[in-house]
Symmetry: C2
Amino acid sequence: MAYFDAASAAPLHPVARQALLASLDEGWADPVRLYREGRRARMLLDAAREAAAEAVGCRADEVVFTPSGTHAVHSGIAGAAAGRRRTGRHLIVSSVEHSCVLHSAEAFEADGGTVTRVPVNRAGAVVPSEYAGALRPDTALACLQSANHEVGTEQPVAAVAEACRAAGVPLLVDAAQSLGWGPVEGDWSLLAASAHKWGGPPGVGLLVVRKGVRFAPQGPADERESGRAPGFGNLPAIVAAVASLRAVREEAAAEAVRLRELTERIRARVARTVPDVEVVGDPERRLPGIVTFSCLYVDGEALLHALDREGFSVSSGSSCTSSTLTPSHVLRAMGVLSEGNVRVSLPPGTAEEDVERFLDVLPGLVAGVRETLGAPASEPAAVLTRDALVVDALGKRCPVPVIELAKVFGDVPVGGTVRVLSDDEAARLDIPAWCAMRGQEYVGEEPAERGAAYVVRRVS
Amino acid sequence: MAYFDAASAAPLHPVARQALLASLDEGWADPVRLYREGRRARMLLDAAREAAAEAVGCRADEVVFTPSGTHAVHSGIAGAAAGRRRTGRHLIVSSVEHSCVLHSAEAFEADGGTVTRVPVNRAGAVVPSEYAGALRPDTALACLQSANHEVGTEQPVAAVAEACRAAGVPLLVDAAQSLGWGPVEGDWSLLAASAHKWGGPPGVGLLVVRKGVRFAPQGPADERESGRAPGFGNLPAIVAAVASLRAVREEAAAEAVRLRELTERIRARVARTVPDVEVVGDPERRLPGIVTFSCLYVDGEALLHALDREGFSVSSGSSCTSSTLTPSHVLRAMGVLSEGNVRVSLPPGTAEEDVERFLDVLPGLVAGVRETLGAPASEPAAVLTRDALVVDALGKRCPVPVIELAKVFGDVPVGGTVRVLSDDEAARLDIPAWCAMRGQEYVGEEPAERGAAYVVRRVS
């Protein structure tokens, strides 16, 4: 049994558990009340706020506790954008932000605002000069994650913060994935985070709004948390969250070295032992515990289930594992292969043996999934029309279109082209990615009666 | 040590504590994930939803878990009003709703909507015919609490629901105070509640949206909880909340009888042993555990502190205990005395001895506070001008204006009037209430250079 999905949620840290139990007894009352149970709750809340501020590197009165990281992001973006409404209605995000940031951006657009989505390079990072180029006189707010949740790539937050500061635009940093590892570098204005990513209980987010940042909370008024997070606070969980943050920080430096070695091992070994694999994300500037790779000709869901049967819990950005049947927006923005995608995110304390066992079973599991999918189609998929080969993969889901392409590619003469007809959203990403991996030319996409035709030229 | 403020927050029920511990181990993973930890979390979540639905009396797919009762109310009102935007932009609330409902109404007004606030009678209840009279063709939503949080009065929900149903208007019931005692009667459309009121942990609210109710969630999109409550769910707390609801419901019938006897004892004994006291709220149609009274010539905060020193934790709707220095909007809407206000809300399991001890010490504590306040002012407060007495209580806070009125009232001839100059918001409520208690005539309010002049005529 090995849980390798810490980037989704981490099990409760033992220190958090202890703190939760203690504060369930001491911190259940309403901290605004004047009697002793209320005063005791208030003292716990104040102490938690001080400790959180110290871990973030800010003032205690800049910290707001919210019910989740998503609430912190939603309230932070809405409040900061409204606070600068007179400056303008332009918002900047990177194209690989967490969905809660992108959903906020969509809501902002629906409300009449304009959004620039800054692209990323193939490693998943924004380029500071490109980000800076998106700043406009009417930019109300800029958002950038500290590190990506799907591929682990760290963003150049300090450089972007400097550009934003020079332009007088506040920068909101979504630090959900990194705050357990250390404070966020640079001169940012707002910060959001989520306790269950660092071993705190669910139900606690952090929103930090630096003094001097214009902020107009949206939605119905409420007196709690400086009017920035409505509802009765979840004090026992807040106390536990902060205790956990302090505890993981104490272990962070040593554990980062250890996990970095383990993920480096996965990066290297997977590339060597699994054929047709693309390891994605920045090899250097990345979080210690996350490593992500995509396997050509593999169904992500089938691989997840195969890993689950062997006792490994991982997640995937493949289209077949999402409710909308579209590949992860992060992989799309990076332009990397999305089929057979696996994200391994190791929780602190992961045993080396578990990683070794994972590396031992993975090649066989990938081969098994490929074998199942590789069975020849009942009807011939490719027909020669005029001068070009056409692969009809309509109605077939990822990774079948790429498998069918690969199967006929040997029949294409060098210089010849093949058209893959597909109505699967993942093909738009995976066929170009296959070309890049195989050194073939991706010519482009043509409209078709159903779906699209993806044109590939054989160059070698 | 006796905690008598269950209407604010109840300590964690032992069953909730057990359930929380168990589900911290079993339910920390993301329930949308496909691996075993995720599937286990999903099973816990599904079971909790079924159990919550059974306790509410609705379908499981009508239940949404939110981060607090306040979130349930905010999202419920915003979503239901937006869902019926084409019908109109009129909202009905009672004037004694919880502040989170009234804050939603204010946000709705700020957004261009119209709000009718239905008044209550002196017992704190709306009159069904009056509520029905507020329904209009453009009414998008009506809101009514099941029972009042400050005075315990139950509202005629079934009758109001029937009127709303006849008019085709959905009714949202804020059941925060009553859901632990039993399901809400009548044919309502939406329901909101808060787990920490029934001994569940903080961090869990319930929003129920009946099938067929038009509902358009507001704010950024999110896939979780049918798109009606964004953010990673607080599953361990949800499991604990539902376990607690089931547990308190099993004990509810017997405990209601016991607490009702205790609060009846407080109602009767306080009226007998404390001079110049007004016991407020409906004597019959009320929650089992809440009893509220106001003491003339008493500073609410001083009385709270005196009770706290004796080991009793209660709350107050007096102006001096609020951050805004205004009396509770509930007491104002009822038109009852707000000075020296005490709300006693007994948690299930309250010991009879504690109530007896409270009743033993209360008269002495009230007398003590009155003695402190009753010391004569250093300058004469009343001067005879023309034909009427004027009491200058400018700059004096509740309960001093009423004390000064009482001190000079003996000098007023029958048929004569006295003007109390006051800039304290509480005087507007407490001077008429004093007249009602004393059988004197409250003539009305006159504008004054500072504050207002409250005119009282001596009739006996």
